[in-house]
């Protein structure tokens, strides 16, 4: 697939390196020759220096035989214009990043799909979604929403008091509750395995499972009896990410929300936008204010400002004050290994990777509706539609030949969600959730296109 990436910022580079690994033909356009030179020395792609919305530049980049355009420059007007130009040139798929929330989604007056832009994406919005999913499942190492958030894929670490520690899964006395979810993969001492009936989990395994959000939550209550959960979320930073998260939390969760914002004007605005949530004007780096917030074991702390160092610092403060769980937004991807090795915060989210997660399925075929790359283990969860001529149509799942390291976990038929069992036969219109290691996904390329 020939993919044209506009903008060599953090997101652009992250996406490019992934696409290069998957052997796609990538052309990267940016105005900054220094950034391009750096990228070119690390990745096998073509770089073109110029303005992303300049027709001559797009022509030079071979727009007429491009399959996908992803516009990720920091100016939304450039992105929208470039995608419209790509539409005129007949590029089949276009994705544009925007920052104004009013653009994203067909809810507003202006539906950008009429300009031929298949997906308008807001990075902060995607990140807020990811944060929301993590917050509503206490104890999860990772939680990603799939099938329009009807299903969650959750990674948890098996604790010492887990009831499943008695023996192999098929001999466990908990069939009832086990049948509500589906295990997709687990990792033990660095190796990824697909769980089978014979599998017996041990303490410390990181297990990934999928299921409906409510069922996943109740299953996790059963799996981790020691996890008490939290009743309150403190968000530091009332920027786009913090505000959207607060709004989502007060709307869709019973958690009580406190929003901390250092800028008086912005705090005022947040307070207008929010109904239940408590808005406090102050800095998350101010120890007194943090102490006054009453952070305790019942509190989850989210640092969502645009300043990585501040975020990590305030998470450390919150941790010291006894927060149950801390999450930090970190934009600089180079910080990730440092944070991991020092275990500074419980969980890190990066708006850039949320964005890539939300658009990655465009790289796959038309029938793929979603593609989430998992963070804690290698592999991805793919959501695809079974169409008329699909090779798996009318086949029992038992009979489908899957490469090693692949598993079909859930099937959505109409509005009915089913745990995939061997006896289930795939029908037209089914949406299938598939987990696979990167290598096995590559082997499935023709099935997924």
């Amino acid at each position: 697939m020939r993919i044209l990436l506009l903008g060599a910022g953090t997101s652009g580079r992250m996406l490019a390196s992934r696409l290069c690994l998957e052997q796609h033909d990538v052309v990267l356009v940016d105005r900054d020759p220094v950034a391009l030179e750096q990228v070119e020395s690390q990745m096998d792609l073509l770089t073109i220096q110029g303005d992303a919305a300049d027709p001559r530049v797009l022509e030079e980049a071979g727009i007429d035989h491009t399959d996908l355009v992803v516009a990720l420059t920091d100016q939304e007007s450039v992105n929208i214009l470039a995608c419209s130009l790509a539409h005129i040139s007949g590029v089949p798929r276009k994705v544009a990043r925007v920052s104004n929330k009013a653009y994203s989604g067909p809810t507003g007056h202006f539906d950008l799909r009429e300009l031929g832009i298949d997906l308008v994406i807001n990075q902060q919005h995607e990140c807020a979604k990811e944060l929301f999913n993590i917050l509503r499942i206490p104890g999860a190492q990772e939680a990603v929403g799939l099938l329009e958030d009807r299903v969650l894929c959750v990674g948890v670490q098996i604790p010492t008091d887990c009831p499943l520690l008695v023996g192999p899964l098929k001999e466990c006395p908990y069939h009832e509750i086990l049948s509500t979810i589906r295990f997709v993969a687990y990792t033990r001492s660095g190796k990824i395995k697909i769980p089978r009936g014979e599998t017996a989990f041990i303490i410390g395994d990181i297990v990934y499972l999928v299921g409906e959000p409510d069922k996943v939550r109740s299953f996790l209550n059963f799996l981790m009896p020691g996890e008490t959960g939290y009743g309150r979320v403190v968000i530091a930073g009332g920027g786009q990410l913090g505000l959207q998260l607060a709004r989502r939390l007060e709307k869709d969760s019973p958690l009580s929300v406190t929003l901390l914002e250092a800028d008086a004007g912005r705090a005022d605005y947040c307070s207008e936008e929010l109904e239940r949530a408590l808005v406090i004007h102050g800095s998350s780096l101010d120890q007194d204010i943090m102490r006054e917030l009453g952070i305790n074991g019942q509190t989850a702390f989210v640092a969502a400002t645009g300043d990585d160092e501040n975020n990590i610092m305030s998470c450390l403060v919150a941790d010291k004050l006894g927060a149950h769980f801390t999450i930090s937004r970190v934009d600089k991807t180079t910080y990730q290994p440092i944070i991991d090795s020092l275990s500074l915060v419980d969980r890190v989210v990066t708006p850039h990777s949320s964005l890539i997660n939300a658009i990655y399925h465009f790289v796959r075929g038309d029938s793929v509706m979603g593609d989430r790359i998992l963070q804690k283990i290698p592999g991805e969860v793919i959501d695809f539609l079974v169409e008329e001529s699909h090779p798996w149509l009318n086949k029992r799942i038992l009979k489908i030949k899957l490469p090693r390291g692949c598993l079909i976990s859930m099937v959505l038929r109409g509005s009915k969600l089913m745990v995939a069992t061997g006896e289930l036969t795939l029908q037209v219109g089914d949406r299938v959730l598939l987990y696979g290691l990167p290598k096995s996904i590559r082997q499935l390329q023709d099935v997924l296109s």
């Binding site: 033909d25 990538v26 096998d44």
Partner: protein
């Protein structure tokens, strides 16, 4: 430098070259060289495979390459290929002296075409074929072939491509380097097939046709005959070879665009136009000079000889149909100047390259204008595109280096050769990968008389020229070896 990764990739190269060597045993068998020769070639290939396989086994692991490693792979790759490629000559006693065998192999792979053999026709057919095959493999780059074949050479592939591909412009036909390499090789193979067919139609045997084609499209210049192309007294054969030498000296990216249907691709390239004009002008001058020198001669033959020699030298091929060493002084001087020029960037030709000369000329004009009007904002432009100042200074550094190396090697070669003409032409000819020189190294002579140490120096000179100086020169920087 990540030596494990570097030698892991070099091991692929050694194994690949050994397999190519094995294929010569087939030729030997087909043309009845006798069991001894076949077995010797096979054992040379076997030894190569063992060396390559051993290196492969002991360097296994994930391949990680930096920019530096790219240079190291190319330099060591070419050295190893030169050494392993010499085995068939040694094993079959075609060239008993190891230094001679190494010289012949490196001259082959670098597409120089200088030989130490005084009688080529007595060699076994398999060995003659190997000699031509080294040129064909070296023409487009042995490593580029690996980039095309080995899919894991992604990022590293670009470093290799940069280091091995001749000329300052590295047009990428496709975003992925492996595909670009495949396309370039596709053009190369197609040219080879067409020329072989044409030469056979013109009356050559298949063996002669394929050998000459290998040495033409790579601008190498080895011939299975002692008299080179003069062995064929056919204007048709001469013309076919002239056309393909010219084509091999043009940027292959332009060939590719032409085949894609962009028929004006050559016309839009100033470099190609200059290249053709230079050759045409030189031919006219030389044939005029020849006609006035030898009034009794046949003018058509004089023109044909002038054209062939001019094209052969400009494209750095080094085939001969006439002994230009016996020509009048003006013609000799023109040939001497053409030794420097080289073909176009991105072709299989060596030398300074027309593009560099063009950019340097334009820079000179720019400087002259700036002397008169210092406030003027002037750019060096080529084919409607501005050449970035750092590229211009890179080309200046290259040209300076090129001429300095010629001076240095001329100085050294005076220790080995009887007169100044042969010494300086040896240096230029080897650095530009042409082949023949003047006086005692003229088109009818060979390099056998030079002492062993001199041959090694010239072989090094060829490698420097083929890998465009800096790839090898960076290896001499102490910084390169620091961790």
């Amino acid at each position: 430098m990540n030596s494990r990764s570097v030698f892991h990739l070099v091991s692929y190269l050694i194994m690949f070259v050994s397999l190519a060597m094995g294929s010569c045993a087939l030729v030997s068998w087909a043309y009845g060289d006798g069991l001894y020769i076949i077995l010797q070639i096979l054992s040379a290939a076997g030894v190569g495979l063992v060396i390559g396989g051993g290196t492969f086994y002991f360097t296994k692991g994930p391949v990680r390459l930096t920019r530096k490693d790219g240079f190291a792979i190319v330099t060591f790759g070419w050295l190893c290929v030169g050494a392993v490629g010499a085995l068939p000559y040694l094993f079959t006693d075609a060239i008993p002296n190891p230094v001679d065998a190494l010289f012949e192999t490196i001259s082959g792979f670098t597409t120089t075409g200088s030989t130490i053999l005084s009688d080529i026709e007595v060699l076994p057919r398999g060995i003659i074929f190997w000699r031509s095959l080294t040129q064909w493999l070296g023409g487009m780059g042995v490593l580029l072939l690996c980039v095309a074949i080995l899919p894991f050479l992604g990022v590293g592939g670009m470093q290799i491509y940069r280091a091995e591909m001749p000329g300052p412009s590295k047009d990428r036909l496709t975003p992925r380097i492996g595909n670009t390499a495949k396309l370039l090789y596709g053009v190369y193979v197609l040219m080879t097939a067409v020329q072989t067919a044409l030469l056979m139609l013109a009356g050559m045997t298949f063996f002669d046709a394929i050998n000459h084609t290998f040495c033409t499209v790579s601008t190498g210049g080895f011939s299975p005959y002692n008299d080179s192309i003069a062995a064929f007294d056919s204007s048709l054969i001469h013309s076919i070879i002239i056309v393909f030498m010219v084509l091999a000296g043009i940027n292959f990216a332009l060939h590719f665009q032409f085949m894609r249907g962009k028929l004006s691709s050559y016309w839009h390239s100033l470099e190609t136009k200059t290249y053709l004009v230079v050759m045409l002008g030189a031919t006219l001058l030389v044939s005029y000079n020849l006609a006035s020198f030898d009034a009794d001669g046949d003018n058509a033959i004089q023109f044909r000889d002038a054209l062939f020699q001019v094209v052969s030298i400009t494209t750095t091929t080094g085939f001969a149909t006439a002994n230009y060493d016996l020509w009048p002084l003006l013609s000799k001087a023109i040939i001497f100047i053409l030794l420097f020029s080289g073909g176009c960037a991105g072709s299989t030709a060596g030398g300074l390259k027309i593009m560099r000369s063009l950019v340097l000329f334009k820079e000179v004009f720019r400087q002259i204008k700036l002397y008169m009007q210092p406030q003027a904002v002037l750019k060096v432009r080529l084919d409607r595109q501005t050449v970035a100042p750092n590229i211009v200074s890179g080309i200046m550094a290259f040209a300076f280096c090129y001429f300095m190396l010629i001076l240095a090697f001329t100085l050294i070669m005076t220790l080995y050769l009887p007169d100044f003409a042969s010494a300086s032409s040896a240096a230029i000819s080897c650095l530009s990968n042409v082949g023949p020189g003047f006086s005692s190294l003229g088109p009818t002579m060979n390099y056998a008389s030079i002492a062993d140490s001199g041959k090694l120096l010239l072989a090094f000179c060829m490698l420097l020229g083929r890998l465009e100086l800096f790839t090898i020169l960076v290896m001499f920087s102490p910084r390169f070896w620091k961790r």
